[in-house]
Symmetry: C2
Subunit: 206 residues, 2 copies
DNA sequence: AGATTTACGGTACGGACCGTACCCTACTTG
DNA sequence: CAAGTAGGGTACGGTCCGTACCGTAAATCT
């Protein structure tokens, strides 16, 4: 429970406006998300918690989902691509980080939001940016280093190929609904799929 | 609009019971799903359409989602794995079938249900069975034939490896929310990921 | 056949929420 | 200082879920 500018205005002022109010609303919405998830986030509760009313909310976001997606930004912590010195180490560590994230309360909220935003490509895109795990760039970075070390084939430097491991892991969560992916699954993704794939046909199995 | 035992009971009888009633309810629910999707399916409408009332519904299913998942079974059409004579042909055709399905109204409903069932592993599992695309068995069959032809390495005969193509395609829909995957995406999945992966290190690129 | 139990049908209702509308008031702007 | 804008308070329509009651048809028992 971080000390956020939530709740009624400080005793000094009387009425917040613009950015200050918006900030309070997003803070309240983020707190509600953290406490009750998306399913438990109601416009009335957010308004009350922010010390305002629903007018101020609907003036800024067209509906509950849009507000929740905007508020999720405050909860999302970005995970950093590792640099362990080996491709296998990098990929496995990166997957483990992602696994921890998806298994965390934040990850559960993200899954709720992804499900709710299913029909709205625009909101989905916002979530993708924030969760960041699908970003091809860090994967290409990791792969680039591996290619320089001779651990992967240059042909693997392709967005769809590079992100395969993360896509498979995400599939475990989104489609299978698993609360956590066992570490064996991560290892299997890496050893049975990802490494054989990026090594290509030109490199030895080891 | 197939002629289903929907609506009020036939003039002859007076009151349906048991299986007959259950069948009418599922039929009505399936029709509602087809017309209005899951979002538009309400318990009141289903009851009215089946010529009964909500009691009969809640006596059989604990909530709206469970009823919808049960009713979806009537809409789901199973797609058959192809046998074109070449691995590339099989995989591409299979993906194209799946792409058509996910893009169809039925696919849209399935996506809605998947999203709504996100938290309930039990219902998710039921949906998986019905959609059937995730089943490893047909993929292993296709791969088995390919291995016999020398088009794939025996090491690829592994559930996680075999189903990679379908998983990547499904990802396009569930996570990216795309209404349809362009054919280029399917080709890319096949040529950049799947074929290189299952060929393994022992076989020539062609 | 008559009595008993079970399952339907009809209906009503509590409760939760979303989204909107009004009106008054504080703050900002010119 | 006047006019315009954005908050605050509040109420309400509307939808829909899930539950409760109660009378009655149909199955089951004796």
């Amino acid at each position: 429970m971080p000390e956020r500018p939530t709740g009624p205005p400080a005793a000094g002022q009387t009425r917040r406006r613009g950015a200050a109010l918006e900030d309070a609303i997003l803070g309240a919405a983020a707190d509600e998300l953290a406490e009750s998830g998306y399913a438990g986030l109601t416009m009335d509760k957010v308004a009350a918690r922010a010390g305002t009313n629903k007018n101020a909310l609907y003036r800024r976001w067209p509906n509950r989902l849009a507000l929740a997606v905007a508020a999720y930004r405050r909860l999302a912590t970005t995970i950093q691509p590792p640099d362990t010195g080996s491709l296998r180490g990098d990929v496995l560590e990166w997957l483990r980080q992602a696994n921890r994230y998806w298994s965390s309360p934040q990850g559960a909220i993200l899954r709720e939001l992804l499900a709710a935003a299913g029909g709205t490509a625009e909101l989905l895109a916002q979530l993708q940016e924030q969760s960041g795990d699908a970003a091809a760039a860090p994967w290409l970075t990791i792969l680039g280093r591996a290619i320089a070390r001779g651990e992967a084939s240059p042909e693997a430097l392709h967005p769809r190929v590079a992100t395969v491991a993360m896509t498979l892991l995400r599939n475990e969560f989104v489609v299978r609904g698993a609360p956590t992916a066992p570490d064996e699954v991560l290892v299997e993704i890496v050893d049975e799929v990802y490494l054989p794939l990026v090594r290509g046909r030109g490199l030895p199995p080891a």
